[in-house]
Symmetry: C2
Subunit: 179 residues, 2 copies
DNA sequence: CCTTGTTTTGTACGGCCGTACAGGACGGCC
DNA sequence: GGCCGTCCTGTACGGCCGTACAAAACAAGG
C-alpha cells in the first residue's frame, strides 16, 4: 500500500476491460496484449497483476461462482422456483455468464485442476439439478432447452433492462420445461 | 482420379474426423495436428487436402448452410411454422450446429470475407426473421431465448433419437416464444 | 521401363501466445 | 541521504499454430 493504492486502481481497470472483452469475444480469443491495449499498458504489466492468465478468469468469475454455489446448495420446492432462482442468477451476472457456460467449460481439453474443470462441473450440476436423477430423454431435452434459453436470452440482450429480461426469461424457462 | 480415388476416400475420413472433433471441442480448439492424429496422418497431409484451414469448416458447413439459406428464403404463415422448420433444420444438422452458432460466429474479430462473417450474418438474419422488424425488448428476449433453447437442446443431446429431439424442441421453442 | 500426377512425408519458417527475468521510475520510510 | 517495495517496461525464450516447399512413395498409362 505504498503508492496510495494506485496500482490497485489499475488492477480494477484491467479487470473491467478484461470482463468486457471476454464477454464479447470469449476467453480464449482475448490475449493479454488485447487487454493491455484496452487499458493502455503492456501485456507484461497485465501479467504482473494476474499471474497466470487463469487468475483473470478466476477473479472475474469468482462472485458469480459463489452465487452459483449457494444456488446449487439451496433446496427448492419445485422446478419453477429453481428456474426462477437460476434466471435471477443469470441476469445478475449476465456479463460473465458467457464465460461460465461457453468458453472455459466448452473445450473438453481442460486439464484437471484448471478453472474450466470446475465450470463444466457447474454446468452438469445445474442440468442434474433441473432434470433430476435418471431423467428420460424427453426430460433431458427439455432441461437443456430451458438452460439454453436462459443463457442465450441473457447474453444476447445486454442492453435490455435487467428486470425485463428476468421477468421474460423466467416465464420462458418455465414454459420450456413444462412444454 | 488416377489412384482409384483413394485420396478422395481419405478426404472424407478427414472431413468426418474433423466434424466430430469440432462438434465436441469447437473449431478454434482443434488444430490440424489433432485432426491428423485422429485419421493417422501428419498435419501436412491434412493441409494438403484442405487449404487453408477455413476450407475444412466451409466444406463441413456447406450442406447445412444451403439448408439454412433456403429456410431463410422461404416464407411462413406464422412464427410457429417458422420455428418448426428451424428446429427441423437444427436437428438434421445437429453435428454442425455448434459450428454455425458458437465457434466461428462467436468472435467478432472475424475479418470481413471469412466464413465467420457470413455465419454471424446467418444468426442475425435468423433472429430478425423470428423477432420481426423493430421488435420490442420483450420480443427480443423471447426470440433469443427460443433460438438458444433449440441450439442448446440440439447440441447437448446428441445421443437422443432425432425424432424425439425434434418433437420436444419444436414444442419448447413455440412455448418460449409464446410465453 | 519410364514418365506423370497424386498423395504423403520431413523440415523449416514466421507469427502469436503466455511467461520469465532484469532493470528503471516513483513514492514512503528510516 | 540511502533503502525498499510497488508498479511498469523491455527483451527474450519456448511452445504451438498454420503454412510453404522439396523430396519421397506410389499407382497408372505411354
Amino acid at each position: 500500500m505504498t503508492t496510495l493504492d494506485q496500482g490497485n486502481a489499475t488492477r480494477s481497470r484491467i479487470l473491467a476491460a478484461a470482463r468486457d472483452l471476454f464477454a464479447e469475444r470469449g476467453y480464449a480469443a482475448v490475449s493479454l496484449a488485447d487487454i493491455a491495449a484496452a487499458v493502455g499498458l503492456t501485456k507484461t504489466a497485465v501479467a504482473y497483476h494476474f499471474h497466470p492468465k487463469d487468475r483473470l478468469a478466476a477473479e472475474i468469475i469468482a462472485p458469480a461462482a459463489d452465487d452459483l454455489l449457494t444456488l446449487l446448495g439451496a433446496r427448492f420446492p419445485g422446478h419453477r422456483e429453481f428456474l426462477r432462482a437460476f434466471t435471477a442468477f443469470a441476469v445478475r451476472h449476465r456479463a460473465v455468464v458467457r464465460l461460465l457456460t461457453e468458453d472455459i467449460g466448452g473445450a473438453d481439453s481442460a486439464p484437471p485442476g484448471s478453472p474450466g474443470e470446475a465450470i463444466r462441473e457447474f454446468g452438469r450440476e445445474l442440468f442434474a439439478r433441473l432434470a433430476g436423477p435418471d431423467p428420460s430423454p424427453s426430460t433431458r431435452v427439455r432441461a437443456w432447452a430451458a438452460l439454453g434459453a436462459v443463457q442465450s436470452g441473457v447474453v444476447k440482450t445486454m442492453d435490455v433492462p435487467a428486470e425485463v429480461v428476468e421477468e421474460r426469461l423466467t416465464a420462458a424457462a418455465v414454459a420450456v420445461f413444462e412444454s
